[in-house]
Subunit: 420 residues, 2 copies
């Protein structure tokens, strides 16, 4: 291990911890002033940001980086507008810090309740998309946390340009610049150090490919909020509106392929399959989606044969697995066995089945009669998200302000002592 | 690794996962029937439990186990009464599973809210105290979780006798016995396997000595809810009721020494020290507490000298560190630097200082004018607790029903699809 990077990350960590005490106690007005100043700064610095992004784009093209990554990397005026809008949206959210609730008196005379407080220091590790820098910084600030951001090397200049606006905004509001620190080392060793800064970092939020996240969660000595896979299902029940079912199943897959909330396995009740599958399959095929079905599905409509492997594959592309199931129980069992506890949908007219589905499907988001593609922080009204969690403790689903806080117990007394 | 124990623990894990689907979907009435049946069964099995406990006690005495452990191990009729009362109290709590909240419509037309759901499978690792078996089983059941219990070898027979009542109660309510499984292997390898059953266990709650918990949290590949230390503080402010301050400081230390919520470091404002410290010190010394003070404290009252080490030591016995501080800022800084984020108290007449203390002290429980010894699940109204968390994510402080659940997102729609 390079001792140089070790000591650099230790300094970053200590500075973040110190800054977290300041931002954690900052007033809503101060945090708001910072967010607005960052938004104004980004507006003024448009040319700088685009120029920096151009540098990254040229390097990416020179390195023959693959097309999806280049698309995610690109920042134009519209992208900057979205960053600014995101900052103002987060600013408009209610300040979660200090919310007190559930106070009640106990027989001893003490009054016990809860207060919502920042987690402290958030470590974000992410790839290409420079707007994550703004989303993470704004949500951390608003929730009273300091953050350490480690963006991808391919977005190095873009992230630096954005971080400059963030630092200026913090300064304008009188907050320490260490509230948001962007790691200026792009080597992997920086990540290795960050995820073991137990004393200084309270939670790690990785975003990126499965192998990155898998490695981080194995090696981290700090809690990690993450999702590895988005193997999302739509189950078309027996009693359904066929048009609605097709719309939801189609939109869930085709609206965008390379997202974690895209449909990967379609389950369809055997009583609906004959009516719905032929036309729905045609829609998919016309859109360029390759279908891989179970034997019963293939008896109804011509398609490739699905293997056991397909039920647990996140394609992130124009491939869809299809399985015909005998009933709701079989659908729920399939989802709980092969799914990734991300987002799963039932399309049904049955009230009883809708209740069972949302209670028994063990996923971060369960939906009735809506597209899987709604599963994100913006659509849920969180303002933005730092990531989506498929973990079961702390936060499930899109992680916004609330996921970056926790609740401590507060006790009010009048001199009470305990007699055991 | 003994493959025998590996396959045994795999079977236990799989059975727990399967059972968790059943208990997670069980009605409140079914869970209540089980809890009541277990309570009745424990009443009927009093002699069996006491006899089994006697076996453990004799073995412990033969092995010259230390006195505190023997005290924790002992179960008499009063202990069984408390177990039964605990079961009935947990039964009387509101069922948290399925609670839905915060539903609101979004511009897209979907309605988004949250549902409280069990975590799934809880792995409990604990030592000597057999009543933990009942507390853990009852809280897991009520919160819709399956649990795997690994008690200490010294309580083997007691735990087996209690587990028999639990199994009978589950059976009477028509629930699978694998909802609560007691590991019948007392070797350490069982713990090593349990904490790596990623596919089957959702959270590990260890209770016991610091070294055990430290080892578990290092080696576990599953999230761990834990506390390592209870370095609790009382800060006596400048403007205080001297009698109240002495009562709280004395009770926080002396009411019980060997508990994690006992006072370990007393902080006292320099403006109060001269008035309060001499008589308070005398009280402590009369109770047999050894005092270790900073230089200023020693100028006021004779006591041993505290070293830097004392500020971060959990004595769990009749020793108290004392430090005189110049102001509230110094008190908060000391607590945040040397404390263990467990439970910290301010005694003050100042409204402004009380607000700053609860906002800025970064601990699981922060109290104003009450004894640290109140920090437990029963005193907080949680019915019981499976443990106390000093982690910052998921649950802080005493962990009861809510800490054994999390919230998933539920989306209600009417055929909405997303247009990006």
């Amino acid at each position: 291990m390079d001792t140089n990077i070790k000591s650099y990350m230790q300094r970053v960590g200590r500075a973040a911890r110190d800054a977290s005490r300041v931002i954690g106690a900052a007033s809503s007005a101060t945090k708001s002033a910072a967010l607005k100043a960052i938004a104004e700064g980004a507006d003024v610095a448009r040319e700088d940001i685009k120029q920096a992004n151009d540098q990254d784009m040229q390097a990416a093209q020179a390195n023959a980086v693959d097309q999806p990554l280049i698309e995610r990397l690109f920042v134009d005026d519209k992208g900057i507008d979205q960053m600014i809008e995101g900052l103002l949206q987060v600013n408009a959210l209610k300040d979660p810090v200090g919310e007190m609730s559930d106070f009640s008196f106990r027989p001893s005379g003490i009054q016990v309740g809860k207060m919502r407080v920042p987690l402290g220091v958030i470590g974000m590790i992410y790839e290409s998309r420079p707007n994550v820098t703004v989303d993470a910084a704004s949500l951390s600030l608003k929730s009273g946390n300091a953050c350490i951001l480690r963006g991808g090397s391919e977005a190095f200049h873009s992230n630096q340009a954005i971080a400059k606006c963030v630092a200026a905004g913090l300064k304008a509001a009188g907050l320490p610049s260490a509230c948001v620190q962007l790691i200026n080392r792009t080597d992997r060793a920086a990540v290795g150090e960050l995820i073991q800064l137990d004393n200084f970092v309270d939670v790690i939020v990785p975003r990126g490919g499965k192998s990155l996240i898998d490695r981080i969660s194995k090696e981290a000595t700090i809690p990690v909020i993450k999702h590895l896979d988005g193997i999302c299902h739509v189950f078309i029940d027996a009693d359904v509106d066929a048009v609605m079912a097709c719309n939801i199943a189609f939109n869930s897959k085709v609206e965008k392929y390379a997202v974690c909330n895209a449909l990967e396995t379609l389950l369809i009740h055997e009583q609906s399959a004959l009516e719905i599958l032929p036309s729905l399959a045609e829609q998919y095929v016309n859109a360029g989606v390759e279908l891989r079905g179970c034997q019963i599905a293939r008896n109804i409509t011509q398609m490739k044969s699905a293997t056991e492997q397909d039920w647990s594959t996140e394609y992130l592309g124009p491939i869809l697995a299809i399985k015909v199931v005998v009933d709701l129980d079989a659908a729920i069992a399939h989802i709980n066995e092969f799914g990734s506890q991300h987002t799963d949908v039932i399309v049904t007219r049955s009230f009883a089945n809708s209740r069972r589905f949302i209670a028994e499907v063990d996923s971060a988001s369960v939906m009735i009669n809506a597209s899987t593609q709604f599963a994100d922080g913006f659509e849920y009204g969180l303002g933005a998200e730092v990531g989506i969690s498929t973990d079961k403790i702390h936060a499930r689903g899109p992680v916004g302000l609330e996921g970056l806080t926790s609740q401590k117990y507060v006790v009010f007394g009048n001199g009470e002592i305990r007699h055991r």
